[in-house]
């Protein structure tokens, strides 16, 4: 069943249209990557899905429920999480406070959820009371992902989760993505580390100047010579 369905989206900033009739979908428990050159509209697509940008045309459906035009706080409540590319943590708050901020709208007892996140990212437990601004890039990314998970999302959107991370951490973040996915969360990932992302993806979309030009399963995209030459660095 289609968990997230994006249909014929036209969206942009001011007069400029960044996305031209983009249709994509995310099935339950899937990992899907969106790849493409700079300025193709990948981040804009995630922002549109999450309600940070209202499309001029087209629809976004989450579990057959139309969410087009809803504000991000409403969309969060419907079970979607989003980790932006930059400024995705509160640097002056501690790790623990950041995670608690993620549960801001929860009225029930979320201690179990906190424990679950510390089990997923044991390294964060050791740094629980440290201000996030002092942490390295990799740990910040884990805090951001952990915070997005606090509301038990069914869908998680990640915008370049491994940009600026050391090779060791890139590997670690991708492992965490697989772990999170195993708990039943479907993921949509925008990545320039495209080869690594496609390796763990069920499917992938190639976006170029606001249009979807190609889609296939992860393995086929990796083996496609033309895609490799144009977008994966040969």
């Amino acid at each position: 069943m289609s968990l997230l369905e994006v249909k014929d989206i036209i969206a942009g900033y001011g007069e400029t249209d960044i996305l031209n009739n983009v249709s994509i979908e995310l099935l339950e428990k899937e990992i899907v990557s969106i790849i493409g050159p700079n300025g193709a509209g990948k981040s804009t697509l995630l922002k549109t899905i999450f309600g940070l940008l209202t499309p001029k045309k087209g629809s976004v459906k989450l579990q057959n429920d139309v969410i087009t035009g809803l504000s991000p706080d409403r969309i969060v409540r419907k079970g979607m999480g989003y980790v932006p590319q930059v400024e995705n943590v509160f640097p002056s708050l501690t790790v623990h406070e950041n995670l608690e901020m993620g549960a801001f709208i929860r009225t029930d007892d979320y201690r179990d959820k906190l424990n679950e996140i510390y089990t997923l990212f044991p390294i964060l437990l050791d740094r629980k009371t440290d201000k996030v601004g002092k942490l390295s890039g990799g740990m910040r990314q884990m805090v951001a992902m952990g915070r997005a998970l606090m509301l038990d999302p069914k869908v998680l959107l990640l915008d370049e989760p491994t940009a600026s991370l050391s090779p060791l951490l890139v590997g670690m973040i991708f492992e965490k993505i697989i772990d999170i996915n195993k708990t039943g969360v479907a993921m949509m990932i925008v990545e320039q580390n495209a080869r690594e992302a496609l390796k763990i993806s069920d499917r992938g979309y190639v976006l170029v100047t606001g249009r979807k030009v190609f889609e296939d399963n992860g393995k086929a995209l990796l083996e496609n010579e033309e895609i490799g030459k144009l977008y994966l660095g040969g």
Binding site: Y13, T16, G36, P37, N38, G39, A40, K42, S43, Q85, V86, K134, L135, S136, G137, G138, M139, E160, A163, S164, L165, S166, P167, L168, L169, V170, G171, Q192, A194, R195, K229, L230, Y231, L232, G233, G234
Partner: protein, 253 residues
Amino acid sequence: MLEVKDIRKSFGGIQAVHECTFTVQEGFITGLIGPNGAGKTTLFNLVTGFHKPDEGKILFKGNRIDGLPPHQIFRKKICRTFQITREYANMTLLENLMVIPENQVGEKIWNTWFRNKAVREQEKTLRDKALEILEFVELIHLKDEYAKNLSGGQKKLLELAKTLMADPQLILLDEPGAGVNRTLMKKLGDNIRSLCAERGITFLIIEHDMDLVMSLCNPVIVMSEGRKLSEGTPEEIKSDERVLEAYLGGQYR
């Protein structure tokens, strides 16, 4: 060309850079790698005058530059880019580049009235130069776009373009590849190589993409916990057990 000697810098109680010593040879592309939080960006900030070192010396072509403010270091033809891009959001790409050179004729009100030919001529030279650079980083189709409308990766490219406007002798690049499409990154690597070979520009590059570092940089310096951990050719670095442990991880073994 650049010598860093026994540099120390701490913030509060935290030692960010700890007795760090290395040199950058003129005409080479030197890579600076290391785990997140190793002190690489702090080192860039020290070299470009954004921080003052607590101890140690920094020499550029034999002259001490530690403690000088950023604008004076810029005048010595040392340029840098930032990890978090700093563009003039409400100016076009072309304008972003054209404001870079200092002491332009048109900055004096006298000149704008009585020497307007000279002002126009200089503007034309600068415009041509800016267009050439935009072509070089493949942003030429966006020359009249406002910088705020660029995507994350495109802003990275604009950062590089801005440094080139200043005719630098040494360029420090802080993660030029992060968020840049891999195919374009490869091309950027080629362009950096030709800038080095043809115009004699020296580079010091912080980067996490190992394909780029290993194909572009020689030598490579590895930092860890504020210290230089190792230095060598890409091959030596790849087989250094300590580097594998601290930074590269299993896939490179």
